[in-house]
């Protein structure tokens, strides 16, 4: 499309600063000794070391998936460093006062309410910097309520029964290439347990940041909502600008026991690479939840970063009457590529799922929705509603939709709707003729397009997500 829409996508990635911190980083390469090193570093019990080694052996037999609509040069997994820890954390801080002030400044730049007094907004934050969890705010207060919220490395020691029971229960070690890799080398991540009948009194949040140059980040999150409980969890991600590509392969497992509810929201702003496609994060993530009877899992994601996004937050609707939801905004600009969507696996009776996906492509980017809705024979009366909308900005980008539908139960109802539209010259000119400048106009149009998803985000993050889109679209018109 017009010259109107082509030129102004050049913006500086706002979170692209590097923090100068003395770090202990493992040399690149992966073998069993590396895994033993990571495990020893964390003083892990034998069962976990064995678990990791088993995952590693599984990984060796697996191959990278080739079906995604993304292209990148082969990744040399021996050029990645599998562990990096800010050195000053060797003696782990006991409180925020002991955290490296340089780190704290990083979080301030990122606008994370790390200090408890600033966190009056009611967000408890676990911060993962490169490979280790740095600080968890509000931990004590949450503990009083019975909520367990801590780095997973700590949970391994403090709550071994829970970790052992649920780790890998939703995403098995050999689930896929990247999940197996994560299982072998995961270094840290968040652990949450909400006891029976408790409504978690505040939003829980994790911020991930990759700082070291050739470090991969492999965090692992495990959330267990016991019977009748409720939790809302938010994850944010950034990384510095680097010329080379960095690998991020996370695993998130959610367990919603009977009558429980988990709401998991992500605002992903990993470094997307520059406008020529140099650098940026390769984001290969496995996120899955399992729903027991009458429970509900809701994924909301706003994906604006990463050079490559490969991500399908899914729900296995095991229990009768359980509910799965997926609300997604994925925006790609310049040379970014996204292949993202969800899987809704209906096993139980009267299970219901809703998928609302909004893909926005600008620049020369490629944006694909890929989703599976499966109704197993036991899914009597199950229902799914899917809506996939794509918005194109400019005429050099691509939008693709790959819906897979499998129904083995005649009583199941599946609905799928899809639309593709463009930000048109007419729309832009109408806005300009009413005095609105074109950048503001595009951001308004895109925000309008995403409205159904943004309303699912917690209030303060909905605002953040709107701003993030605006920044990510800078230069999309000109």
């Amino acid at each position: 499309m017009s010259d109107q829409i082509n030129a102004y996508l050049d913006h500086e990635y706002a979170a692209g600063f590097v923090t100068d911190i003395d770090a202990e980083t493992l040399p690149p390469g992966l073998n069993e000794d590396v895994i033993r090193f990571i495990s020893a570093k964390k003083d892990e019990p034998d069962w976990l070391l064995e678990w990791r080694l088993e995952a590693y052996r599984g990984w060796m037999t697996l191959r990278e998936p080739q079906w995604a609509h993304v292209q990148h040069p082969p990744i040399d997994f021996n050029q990645v460093s599998y562990y990096s820890s800010p050195r000053s954390l060797d003696d782990r801080p006991k409180s925020l006062a002991e955290v490296d002030p340089e780190l704290l400044r990083t979080y301030e730049k990122l606008g994370i309410p790390l200090h408890e007094q600033e966190a009056l907004a009611g967000v408890a934050v676990d911060v993962v910097f490169d490979s280790v969890s740095v600080a968890t705010t509000f931990k004590e207060k949450l503990k009083e309520a019975g909520v367990l919220f801590c780095p997973i490395s700590e949970a391994v020691h403090a709550y071994p029964e829970l970790v052992r029971k649920y780790l890998g229960s939703v995403v098995p070690r050999r689930d896929n290439f990247y999940a197996a890799l994560n299982s072998a080398v995961f270094s840290d991540g968040s652990f949450v347990y909400i006891p029976k009948g408790l409504r978690c009194p505040m939003e829980l949040s994790t911020y991930f940041r990759i700082n070291e140059a050739s470090t991969g980040q492999f965090e692992r999150t495990l959330i267990i909502a016991d019977e009748g409980s409720y939790v809302s969890y938010l994850e944010g991600c950034t990384a510095p600008m680097r010329d080379n590509n960095q690998l991020h392969a996370a695993v998130v497992e959610l367990v919603a026991l009977n009558d429980a509810q988990i709401k998991y929201s992500t605002v992903q702003n990993w470094y997307p690479g520059d406008k020529n496609g140099q650098g940026g994060i390769y984001n290969f993530v496995t996120k899955r939840g399992v729903c027991h009877r009458n429970s509900k899992i809701s994924w909301t994601q706003v994906e604006t970063g990463s050079a490559i996004t490969w991500k399908y937050p899914s729900v296995v609707l095991r229990g009768d009457n359980s509910v799965g939801e997926f609300y997604s905004v994925a925006l790609t600009n310049n040379l970014q590529q996204a292949d993202t969507g969800t899987k809704m696996i209906h096993l139980g009776r009267n299970t219901r799922s809703t998928i609302i996906s909004k893909g926005i492509s600008a620049g020369r980017s490629q944006n694909a929705y890929r989703g599976l809705v499966r109704m197993n024979p036991g899914a009597e009366g199950a229902r799914n509603y899917t809506q996939c909308d794509s918005l194109l900005i400019g005429d050099r980008c691509g939008a693709h939709t790959f819906p897979y539908i499998e129904s083995k139960n005649a009583s199941a109802v599946i609905e799928h709707e899809a639309t593709t539209s463009k930000v048109s010259d007419d729309q832009l000119f109408l806005c300009q003729q009413r005095g609105i400048d074109p950048e503001k106009a595009v951001s308004m149009i895109v925000n309008g397009f995403c409205k159904e998803v943004f309303k699912e985000l917690p209030m303060e993050f909905a605002v953040e997500a709107g701003k993030l889109l605006e920044v990510s679209l800078e230069g999309a018109v000109g």
Binding site: Q427, Q433, R434, G435, M444, I445, G448
Partner: protein
């Protein structure tokens, strides 16, 4: 107020305006009529700065300022308003949000304070009433699912809130039934003032029964070929455009 001299413009290498002259004084209402393809809509787009409409000669000034040197949004902020013949939809962006962004931008440019949400809401509701558009249209997406008549009234609503110096109505009367036409005409008449000027682009003289113009011009072949008063429109209605072409030739 508006002064156009020897304006020439082309679209896709095809010359559409070929030396158009027009003077519009403050408070005047000018009707521009003419056969299809004579350049009527092009004139509105060129004056409002739509991309793809290239000016190849001549000048156009608004209150002495060079319109052609300004970007489209700047012209709007300077007080030029174009009511579209086919208003476009912007799904998901509420009319209210759009109107507020628009009015804020224009007021900021004029050095006026932005309306607070409550007083803006009040003004927007009053304007809705004036153009006979139910208030729930403020919550709906811009023109989203509006009927043709509703879209035209929505244009009028925007005009009222923006309070332009010069409003160009591009065939706002086309496709309207007689009642809707009356609403549009009432809106325009209510906004007529000594400071505000109008250019009504129209095919039919019907609108001019309701909004009585000070001048009527015939645009043909990219130029104003005949000007007169109200009676010219009636004459055109009776005889068509053919006789003018003959007269000019």
């Amino acid at each position: 107020m508006l002064s156009i001299k020897n304006l020439q413009a082309r679209v896709d290498d095809q010359a559409i305006l070929k030396g158009l002259d027009l003077e519009v004084g403050p408070g005047e209402v000018h009707a521009i009529m003419g056969p299809n393809g004579s350049g009527k809509s092009t004139l509105g787009y060129v004056l409002s700065g739509r991309s793809g409409y290239d000016v190849t000669g001549g000048s156009a000034t608004l209150d002495g300022r060079d319109l052609l040197a300004m970007g489209a949004e700047e012209r709007a902020r300077e007080g030029l308003f174009l009511a579209f013949q086919y208003p476009v939809e912007i799904p998901g962006v509420s009319n209210m949000e759009f109107l507020k962004a628009s009015v804020d931008a224009v007021r900021e440019h004029r050095g006026l304070a932005a309306y607070d949400a409550v007083s803006f809401m009040k003004r927007a509701r009053e304007s809705c009433k004036a153009v006979n558009l139910p208030q729930e249209f403020l919550k709906r997406g811009v023109n989203e699912g509006f009927s043709g008549g509703e879209k035209k009234r929505n244009e009028l609503l925007q005009m009222m809130l923006l309070e332009p110096r010069l409003a160009i109505l591009d065939e706002t009367d086309s496709g309207l039934d007689i009642d809707a036409l009356q609403v549009v005409a009432d809106g325009v008449n209510a906004m007529r003032s000594r400071e505000r000027s109008f250019i009504l682009v129209t095919h039919y003289q019907r609108l001019l029964d309701y909004v009585v113009p000070d001048f009527v011009h015939v645009l043909a072949g990219g130029r104003i070929v005949k000007s007169g008063d109200r009676r010219l429109a009636l004459e055109l209605e009776e005889k068509g455009y053919g006789w003018i072409a003959g007269e000019v030739a």
